[in-house]
Structure formats: structure tokens, C-alpha cells
Symmetry: C2
Subunit: 361 residues, 2 copies
Amino acid sequence: MAVVGGGAVGLAVAWRCAARGLRVTVHDPAPGSGASHVAAGMLSPVAEAYFGERELTGLLVASAARWPAFAAELTAASGVDLGYRTEGTLVVGLTGDDLAEAQRLWSYQRDLGLPISPLRPSELRDREPALATRVRGGAVAPGDHQVDPRRLVTALRTAAERAGATLVTGAVRALSDLDARVTVVAAGCGAAALTGLPVRPVKGQILRLRAPDGGPPGFRHVVRGYADGEPVYLVPREDGEVVVGATVEERADTDVTAGAVLRLLRAAVDLVPELAEYELVEATAGLRPGTPDNAPIIGPLPGRPGVLVATGHHRHGIVLTPLTADLVTELVVAEPTAPATADPLLAPCTPERFAGQRRPG
Amino acid sequence: MAVVGGGAVGLAVAWRCAARGLRVTVHDPAPGSGASHVAAGMLSPVAEAYFGERELTGLLVASAARWPAFAAELTAASGVDLGYRTEGTLVVGLTGDDLAEAQRLWSYQRDLGLPISPLRPSELRDREPALATRVRGGAVAPGDHQVDPRRLVTALRTAAERAGATLVTGAVRALSDLDARVTVVAAGCGAAALTGLPVRPVKGQILRLRAPDGGPPGFRHVVRGYADGEPVYLVPREDGEVVVGATVEERADTDVTAGAVLRLLRAAVDLVPELAEYELVEATAGLRPGTPDNAPIIGPLPGRPGVLVATGHHRHGIVLTPLTADLVTELVVAEPTAPATADPLLAPCTPERFAGQRRPG
């Protein structure tokens, strides 16, 4: 079988399939250089549960539940530390308005039965003294974890190769160029040209800071905040890195702009003042594969027997990696031309839902 | 003769001396990679005339007066466009407090007889419609020009080599390692270790933006502004670059910090809002060679016959390059062991003024 795309999703599919005994070849001109390279790595089914996205939330919860075992298995298979952290996520509001906005969302999340609990400001600061004294309030989502996506890609690549998969460094221009019984298209935004599916680039700008003097950051939870109306997240890693993200822009360029960096830094420093002293190591922009309904596209490509799709993960590629890899592997192993046997979780993800929107592939 | 240091000053000395028929070798592990690489290139004797620095101001004015002929001669000798621009500099204040601070300085500058004229807000905006409507007022220094320091270094290197100078890529650990009749130490902060003079690193963080779509920036003057107490300058180049600078920090590291980038971007975007849409191309930090009295150190090193010093230019290396090169060349050509013949302009620059502060060289 062939996998087109060597990001987190493509490599995870390759690892799982190779471990099941399949001969797998992964094609990518620059493995791990796409959205996975820019991603922050929040595993946030709760804090990412937005109004009107109930089915997507179900997918996120299901995949996040698989993460602990997936991380343990992958670490054992690769010998690579993924930077997986389980301290949980704090959701905070800087001003009264920010707090009201955050509360509205976490009330909705609680109504769905998701684990998120309001904290008093003093409780918030007991957990993270680095938070600005201005921060008006917040909540904790203890099950919203994080992982380092760059370590994840390294681990997946190692595990896939150890399981027998082959990596071919090169671009695939058309699916007809591949000579494989089954092909999985996990090419992110590149899936649009290969399949005709309505996958569009959604630009995200993101920063990487580093704590001074080689130490760890002065906070341990993922912090998701609203700061004067600006949503921002701060992801602290044990190696000293802090990821600050991210813009969501309907653009296809990867320019880093002064205005976006200004907005991200202002919000970050307003929420955690000590970040001003951190080194600004990297400012990058990536392109998320977005879909018309914000849900991923996972399943057989209509009219193309033997072609499966795994793309459109938008802002959720890292959290959805274990579930996507498992579901795709089951489809491949079972019988790729028999979608009727698919897991019910795949119902909202089927490529068929965009049958009317496909351009000639 | 040997020149230690291949930045703007060292290369200009090398060019001038080689053109006078001397055999010149320039030593630098990475020519043009020091303070010259980070410099903004403002030629601002007026706007840089600060309280209590009268003699330094005299030097800046004298060197700026040499710039037009120097630029023309260097362009002819090298074939390199220096990006020399003569639109002048606007000094602006964002808030009432900022304007009061700017006014206090430009009143002092006018009292010195320097060319700077207040403008009404409407006159300011007629000159630069890109300025924020919030900007409360300002002044114009028509003789404060600019040049691109990276193009300057390329041009000086070309001109020096065409005149017969040799560039040796390597570090000089001690002056005794050099076998030359005359040695000019133009090593920036590195001069401290070589000469024992009290030259200290003064860190500056600086940004380079780029106008969208390959066009030129939306303003043509250098803008020096105060924005909510934050001093910032914006230097627009015809090739689309805008330099935003710079912090002044008593530190010796070259880390780029989140707080500095935030302060520079906030002040820049407050003064010229369209900069938010510009690409952030580069964030760098460099080390200016500072001296105890902020004036450069130019002249013979006491007790070391045949050794001349040209360093300590702090924030003024680019504007002082022509004058420094001319003065040093005269000293070299005349007789390096007879400092009594030196130009009176050199009086405030003599290394002897720090005789009591020298550490063992």
C-alpha cells in the first residue's frame, strides 16, 4: 500500500498498517514539514468543543481517550520521548469581558457532560502563580493534555520504519502515478489537488519561545486565554519551549506578519508577564487542511476503488491522529472496497458528504 | 598594514588606505556580520543630538556632511547601489506626553543651530499620509538621511578589494600575531580584548519588515517616534524593507526576546498602522561597541607604536564611517607614531582619555 503524506496522520497510518504486516511506502517531498511541524500539540477535546460542532466533539473525545495508550505504545516502539504531559489545561479570561466569553463556552462544554470546572481566581493562581494578577478568572480541563508534535513525527517515522515501512522522499503529482493496491491520501491541503475534495488551506501563525537560562517554563498547564478579545494559547514544554498560537486566517500564504506576531505576543505577555523575558526562537506560519463543515474527511474516495482519504483535520490533526490511524487501518485491513463495514464514528467524516462539491481530481 | 575587523569602519579604512597605495590586509572571521549587519543605517546627526553630548554631535555633523560625496565616490568605485536616500527624517510624538518629550529634544537641537523644524499635524500628514491619525505632532530634520548598511558593507568590500586590499577570513587573537608596520583595530566590541580599552557591548534588538506584494513601503521619510513612552525608529527602503529599531540594553547576549519584539512592534504599528500587514522577515540582536562617554575611540593606542584604534562607535557607526576612515587614513599616511599632527576633530576621540581605565591588553 501507498501513503501519500508523511505528516503525523500519514506516518501513524503507515506505522499501524506496517505493524499489521502490510508492505507500506510513504511518499512525501519533506516528511513532517507541513501542518505537523507548525502544530502546537494540544490534546483538547474539551476546550476545543465549540457551539454547533457536536459530532466533531465526539470524535475529539474518542481520539483523546486513545492518546495515553497510543503514546505509551509509540514511545516503546520508537524509543522517542513524545513530550506527552498530563497537567491539564487552564482556560482563563483577562478582563471581565474575556471571562464572560470564556464562561459562556465552558458552560456549554459542561452541559455536554465534558470535564471542565470553574476555579476561583485564588485557586487559579495557586495552580499557576505565573498568571498575571489581572486575570479575572478561569476553569480547569484536567483531561486536556498535550504532546510535542515534532517529537511525535520523529517517533512515528522511527516506529513506522522499524515496523518495515519505507519512506520515499518525493512528491506525488497524481494518484495514477502510484502502483499500489491501496492508497491512503493523507496529504493535508495537498489532498485537494489529488482527490478534488473541498479541502482548503487555513493559515495559522504561531510562535515558539524559550525560557531563559535553559530552565523549564514558569508554568506547567496549557493556558488557553482570552486577552482583550484575543484568543491565545500557551503550551509549556519540559525542555523550556513555550508555544504561543495561533491565528486562524482564510489565506493560503505562509508569510509571518508583524500584526499577527504583535497580537500573539501582546496576549501572551498580558496573561503570563514573565514571557516578555523569554527568547523568541521562531515565528512560523502553516496551512491547516480545512473542510466546509470543520470535520475531517476519513474514508473511501467515491468512484476510486482502493483509494482512502485521511485529511481535513483542520486544527485537530494531532489529537485526531490515533483515532484516524486506527480507523483507516481497519478499513485497509478489512477490505477497502467495502465501506459498509466502517466504524460508526466515521459517519460524520465520510468523503461522500462532499460528493456534490468535488472538482475533477 | 593590517586592519582587524571587516565591518563598515574597518572596510572603509581599508578602502581609503588601499586607494592611497598602501598594502592592506583585513582580518575578520565573518566580514560584515557584526554591528554593521544589524545597524539601521540612519545618518542622523540632528535627531541623534542628545543633551550633554555636544562634542559627539559635532563629530556626527562633520561626518554626515561627508556622506553625499562619500556615497557617490563609493558607488562609483564599487558599482553597488547603497540605498542612500535623502528624503529626511520626521520626528513624531504619538500622545501629548510623547510630543512634549520630542519637543524638548528638538528645541535643544534647534538651540544648537541644527536644522529641524516643527510641523503642524496637517503638514505631517501631508508629508506622510501613512502616519496614524492619532499622531499628535512632529518636526522634520531634512538633512538626516539614510543608507542600507548591508549594501554599504558589500560596496566597501568590493571597493577595497578593487583597490588592492586583501581579505583574510580568520580571527585575530592577539595583535602580536600580526606582522604589519601599522595595525588598525576596528573590531567593534572585540577591541576590548585586543587593546584593553573600556569598550563594552550594548545590545540592540531590531526588526526587518517587508511591504506586501513586492511594493515599496507606504512612507518615504525615516520616522523617529515616541509611542506611549517607547522610542522607535522606522527606516523605509526603496526595495520594500522597513527597519524597526532598536532596544538599547546593557547586556552581552544576542538573544531576541518576546518583550523587545512586542515593544518594537507595538510602537511601530501605533505610529504607522499599515505595518501590521507587513511581513516580519527578521528579528535580530547585535552588540554595539559602547564607551564610558558614548564617544568613539579613534587614534594611536598609547604605548603600542604602530597600533591605531577605530572603535567605540556605539549607535553611530554608520554615520561616522566616512569621517573615521578619513581621519584614520590621514594618521596612517602621515606617520602613525606622530599623533601630534592629528585633526582637531579627533580631540574628543583619543584613546588616551581612557589611559587610567585600560585593563592589561
